[in-house]
Assembly symmetry: none
Homo-oligomer: 194 residues x 4
DNA sequence: CATGAATGAGATTTCATTCAT
DNA sequence: TATGAATGAAATCTCATTCAT
């Protein structure tokens, strides 16, 4: 079934193009024509692979998240990783993660008013949350401590700190090189005794 | 004699309407007609007071910020306020601050691609930062401790935590009642020894 | 009846302002607000003195013509004027006549599609034509020659030459100083034996 | 395979429609919708081929000029043409040239206030001027006379006469049949000894 | 499958005109 | 009289979507 492979590949190409264009221009200014141009195809072609523009955009959001989770999973599978190694993957320290986080933010405000996007956002947060929680539990096991009772709120605190750092880093890129981002995250985790 | 109209008041009315509409519908879906309708006037009347739509939107952003800073200043002027009392003003715990923070987020992603909005965002952050820093210094004076050397990064950490909590609270309002928001902020400040 | 005098003066002020604005910005770009601003009044005031915008514009056209005819009449009343002295008044050699002719041209293309303006244009041409014809007859009397039979066509030829020079002079002002305009007109009249 | 459309032809069709509409209604009253209607398409289709309305209008002006120059070139290439035959092409003696000259006049007043149109107008005059000059030189060669020293001013005189006749002919069409236009032009050239 | 021309709804902006004061 | 705020019609431009080829 070569067609299906092509189909998937095509969708991926388009979604990837959408990610780049959104990160570059923002969600509002992203035209189907721009995405088509970036992907080296026409708008008509895109509608062959996606029902409509919104579907393309959602695919882009999905892809941005997948980038981040893939990175986290990769680190997670290494034998000697620390908790810090995991969560640092969410920070916009590489070009790739900067792009991914910019897309995430582009969709964030939309999620506040569009139920469909909101659902997606919530579901993804749950995915992130359980990942962080799992790794946190593993951490406590490694250091042979019992996990705190309010572990969910600890995770939310971590999440808040990470999201907050992302926001600042994207806004004032020059002031937030990788080292500073890492330093503040580390400071926070140290406070938590992690 | 001409019909007497308070220009400033009129502009405020329009900006306020814009704030409400943006918080309700998001930035992209906000039409001039919606704002006009909300303010009880016509689009022509709005362009009488603002050069164009962008000017109205920026006025709305300004107003949202002003709400927050006004609250902070009010608390700040009370004789026995704590540092916590100040920063908690930024959290979306009242209807008013929820609206203000929703507007802020609506503009955030735009600030990543539009230089003009970016400038505004950066300037406002600076305003926030210096306010937080000032109150932090006062705090250390009150408890007769010397302020840490990396006080700017401490402020950034606080900012990150607050921003992160805002993001989460807006997304899943039901899960984030005032008490939970307050609790997590307090936890963080306690970790910092504040 | 001081009111009436004021009324007339007011209309004149407005029409004069309109002339300046039209010459400056062109007919299309001339807004009632601009005219009002130039005249130091408001749009509401203008509608007190003119039924609508078109009336203001027509008054401006009228005024532009009056300037030219007034100049012609003044020269005409001098005892020792030549035919050349008369027609040279139509050329845009002074700031005033430049303005007047620019206004005339601004209305010209409108006269091709709007019957009302067309009528005005035709009537004014007739006024010009009879003036030129009269002066031409006087000229022939002075030099004791009989006027040519096709005197109307001679006048039209003169008119064409003058109009053509106006067009060129307005377009490329720098290349058409007063001397050049005068020279070409004189050359033409000399050809005609005038 | 895509719908095959000749881009150039399409642009020509639109420009031609614009020419007709402008000649009919004047420049100010020409709406994109009118042009679209005349061309049998929608406004959206037009902006597919032209960046904006101004681009359409300029194309129309260009086309009007091209009509005239094409006629001049055609006559010019005939073996036994006279100088008169050339310049008479500029007069509005046919429906086609009437239209072209009306469009030219429609843009004339705009050229007095819009630099872009002015440039175009000046460039086109230069084209016309050199054409006339060239033909005049040829004429003198044919009749074995030396060209006058002030040949440029002779050309300007001819231009003025032609332009002046155009103005009058367009304004009072009924009074200016082809024969009268030709007669006055011929009279003028005869005066010049051409 | 793919193209890209064409549509047409929708949004902003402009301004002459009106009218309450 | 005069003001200038407000209206609202009109026009342009944008762009997702459709569809003939």
């Amino acid at each position: 079934m070569p067609k299906i492979v092509n189909h998937k590949k095509r969708r991926t190409t388009i979604a990837q193009a959408a990610v780049e264009v959104i990160a570059e221009q923002g969600l509002e200014s992203t035209k189907l024509l721009d995405i088509a141009g970036f992907a080296g195809m026409t708008t008509g072609a895109i509608t062959h692979y996606f029902s409509d523009k919104d579907a393309v955009l959602m695919a882009a959001l999905e892809m941005a998240y997948d980038m981040m989770f893939a990175n986290m999973d990769q680190v997670s599978s290494a034998s000697d990783h620390t908790f810090y190694d995991i969560v640092v993957q969410a920070l916009p320290i590489t070009q790739e993660s900067r792009t991914a986080m910019t897309v995430w933010m582009a969709f964030y405000s939309r999620s506040l008013v569009e139920p469909e996007v909101s659902c997606h956002q919530i579901a993804t947060h749950a995915r992130w949350h359980s990942k962080v929680k799992l790794e946190l539990v593993r951490h406590y096991q490694r250091v042979e401590m019992s996990a705190p009772e309010d572990i969910d709120d600890v995770c939310e605190g971590i999440t808040a700190q990470v999201n907050g750092l992302i926001i600042r880093s994207l806004t004032e890129e020059a002031d937030w090189p990788e080292t500073r981002q890492r330093k503040l995250l580390k400071t926070y985790l140290t406070l938590l005794g992690i």
